[in-house]
Amino acid sequence: MLTGEMKKILEASRSIGWVMEPEAKQIFSLAGLDVPRFRWAKDKGEVTQFAEEIGYPLVAKVVSPKVIHKSDIKGVVVGIETQQELIEVYQRFSQVESFAGMLIEERVPGIEVIVGAKMDYQFGLIILLGMGGTSAEIYRDVSLRMAPLSPIDIASMVKCLKAHELLEGYRGSDAIHLGQLVKTIQVFSALVMDLKGEIESIDLNPVMCSSARCVVADARIMLRG
């Protein structure tokens, strides 16, 4: 079920056509998905204050209604160690068109996975699981299923990825917490069933999967036009 707060965010985002990262994360957090500790700093004072709260090293991302793909404009900086570094990044970000602040969040380790949803003309709501990150579209290692998903669907989505061995622990690396990944997909599938009238597509990319958690490190919701 969509909560009042979720509906409010969706309503407020309608004019720009999509839900920006901090608000999208808020929605997924309310739905029960794991997100990194984050704060949305609107000015320089908040930047330093929130950085202390979150703790270094941290990740900074630009927030702007005009920037859908942040990496394309170098709008994501990972592994910031000092306040000076952070301020420099802030100053660069503030030059971005329609700058609306900076997202400051904890760095989360893990394998990058993408979980997504799309309204398909012929089949309705579709859920995607794939190997994520900025290179997701180069490798295109994805499983697609029609929602709502059964537990069998979710298990087979993982199994059908070419890189599933990477998730299950490959050559000495730890396996990711598959139970957490399954839970993430389940919660996501249930949430998007409730959102289906509102959305065109959703990316949770990356979801950082480790042996401990699966954390939605970035998210965007494209609203139906």
């Binding site: 999509w18 859908i68 993408i114 997504g116 949803a117 799309k118 398909d120 003309y121 012929q122 089949f123 309705g124 579709i126 995607l128 794939g130 994520g132 997701a136 579209e137 295109r140 994805v142 499983s143 697609l144 299923r145 029609m146 069998i152 669907d153 087979s156 059908c160 065109e200 597509s201 959703i202 990316d203 990319n205 965007r220 494209m222």
Partner: protein
């Protein structure tokens, strides 16, 4: 929507029969049904008169008997009026052969006949289609009989959006000896669409396998179709054309970009165990295999061959299609060796593929097949038969088929299809074992059973 009178009519009105143009589609349809099919056929034309000694009825309402099916092959603008007559006469269904509707921009005209038909409870196929091929009862294709290649009566229902693809694939069904229960060209599919036909054939006692050639679905129609197909106990095969989307729409999310129309289509079919034939080479072999074996397999293949090279090619093909070839244990190999002809015991290989060599006789094939058929970790046996091996007789196909029937384990055979070896082919085929033209195609047949398994 009840399609029984439409698809299994006892009486047929052919509307548009011409007294001046012998090559008019309606004339072709009238003649071929009149001379060769069981359906009772009545010619209709507004001018009335006499056609080859038969009374031509000016209107459907004039026909003295209840009409089950009306074939409408008149100009598009006349179709609404003809439909009004059909509804008034209580006709059970129609095939609208005529073009000149949505495919040529006349959407309004098409919508008009759809709403008439819905209101009047007149299910119709088309417009812009060939309609129904269902010998020995009925054939509404406007193609002269002498030009058609007609598959035998069989257990596969084939529904195609394209008439051309349908007729062409029918040639292949005929050549492969795969019989059709009914073939249907649905053209613009304005009213009766894939879903209604799926539901009809799911209940049809003459059909075991339902195959579709589909170019695309309307909004959310794909969802309803796959959900119905998942409920259907019979194998459903879909051959989709138009796999690359025409315009590359700018997409703003990774998901939208990676979940393209075809990727979604193909994945959703697999999710529900609907068998996708990915190209025209898969379609007919899939129909053949699934009309023999309806149960899904995991895809663990046992291979019995008379030549090492054939075995190696089959293994390669299995791997490239995601099928596995589980090895036999030392113990199983020893057991297999013990039951074969003495002269094979030192020269044959028993690992999987089982290479019986060119010295094998029928009994060796039979015994090896028995052993593999009883193995739990093998769910399909491929026989690569080389009829030129001197120890093999033309009885072998029928003998091997009996094992398959007895053990219930799917068997697929490869036999070179030349006239000289047809007895080998028929030995399998007449005993309900599918036979392929090539090693690759034999592997395709096993693949069809694997795709039956939801993934």
């Amino acid at each position: 929507m009840n399609l029984n009178r439409l698809l299994q009519p006892k009486t047929l009105a052919v509307i548009g029969v011409s007294s001046t143009n012998d090559r008019h589609p309606a004339n072709v349809i009238f003649n071929k049904n009149h001379f060769r099919q069981k359906v009772k056929v009545f010619p209709v034309n507004g001018r009335g008169g006499n056609f080859h000694g038969e009374t031509v009825y000016p209107r459907v309402t004039d026909i003295p008997q209840k009409v089950d099916l009306a074939v409408i092959a008149a100009r598009a603008e006349l179709v609404p009026e003809i439909m009004t007559d059909c509804i008034e006469a209580g006709v059970g269904g129609a095939v609208v052969v005529s073009g000149g509707f949505a495919e040529s921009g006349q959407k309004d005209l098409q919508e008009r006949i759809v709403s008439m038909a819905k209101k009047g409870n007149l299910p119709f196929i088309g417009p812009n289609c060939l309609g129904i091929f269902s010998p020995p009862y009925l054939d509404t294709f406007f193609l002269p009989n002498e030009r058609m290649v007609r598959p035998e009566k069989g257990r596969v229902a084939f529904v195609s959006q394209s008439g051309g693809v349908l007729v062409d694939q029918m040639v292949k069904f005929a050549v492969e000896g795969v019989g059709l229960s009914l073939a249907l060209s649905i053209g613009n599919k304005a009213l009766v669409r894939e879903l209604e036909l799926l539901n009809h054939f799911a209940r049809d006692a003459e059909t075991d396998v339902i195959a579709f050639y589909i170019e695309g679905f309307e909004e959310n129609e794909g969802r309803a179709f796959v959900q119905a197909a998942a409920e259907c106990p019979k194998p459903v095969i879909v051959f989709k054309a138009g796999k690359t989307s025409a315009g590359s729409r700018a997409v703003s999310s990774h998901t939208a970009s990676m979940a393209g129309d075809y990727e979604v289509f193909s994945s959703v079919l697999a999710q529900y165990g609907i068998v996708e034939a990915k190209d025209e080479f898969e379609l007919v072999p899939f129909c053949e295999a699934l009309s023999c074996y309806q149960r899904p397999i995991e895809g663990r293949i046992g291979i019995i061959t008379g030549s090492g090279g054939h075995g190696a090619i089959a293994v390669d093909a299995c791997f490239s299609h995601g099928l596995s070839v589980p090895p036999l244990s030392e113990k199983e190999q020893a057991e297999m060796r013990a039951i074969l002809s003495e002269r094979l015991q030192e020269i044959a290989s028993f690992g999987n593929p089982i290479d019986l060599t060119g010295s094998a006789v029928d009994d060796d094939f039979v015994n090896a097949t028995k052993v593999l058929s009883k193995k739990d970790d093998i769910d399909c046996v491929l026989i690569l038969l080389l009829p030129y091996s001197p120890g093999i007789t033309s009885d072998v196909g029928a003998r091997l088929s009996q094992i398959c029937l007895q053990e219930g384990k799917p068997l697929v055979a490869y036999v070179p299809h030349v006239e000289k070896f047809l007895m080998f082919v028929e030995g399998f085929q007449f005993n309900h074992v599918p036979v392929s033209h090539s090693i690759e195609e034999a592997v395709h047949m096993a693949l069809a059973m694997k795709r039956r398994r939801p993934c």
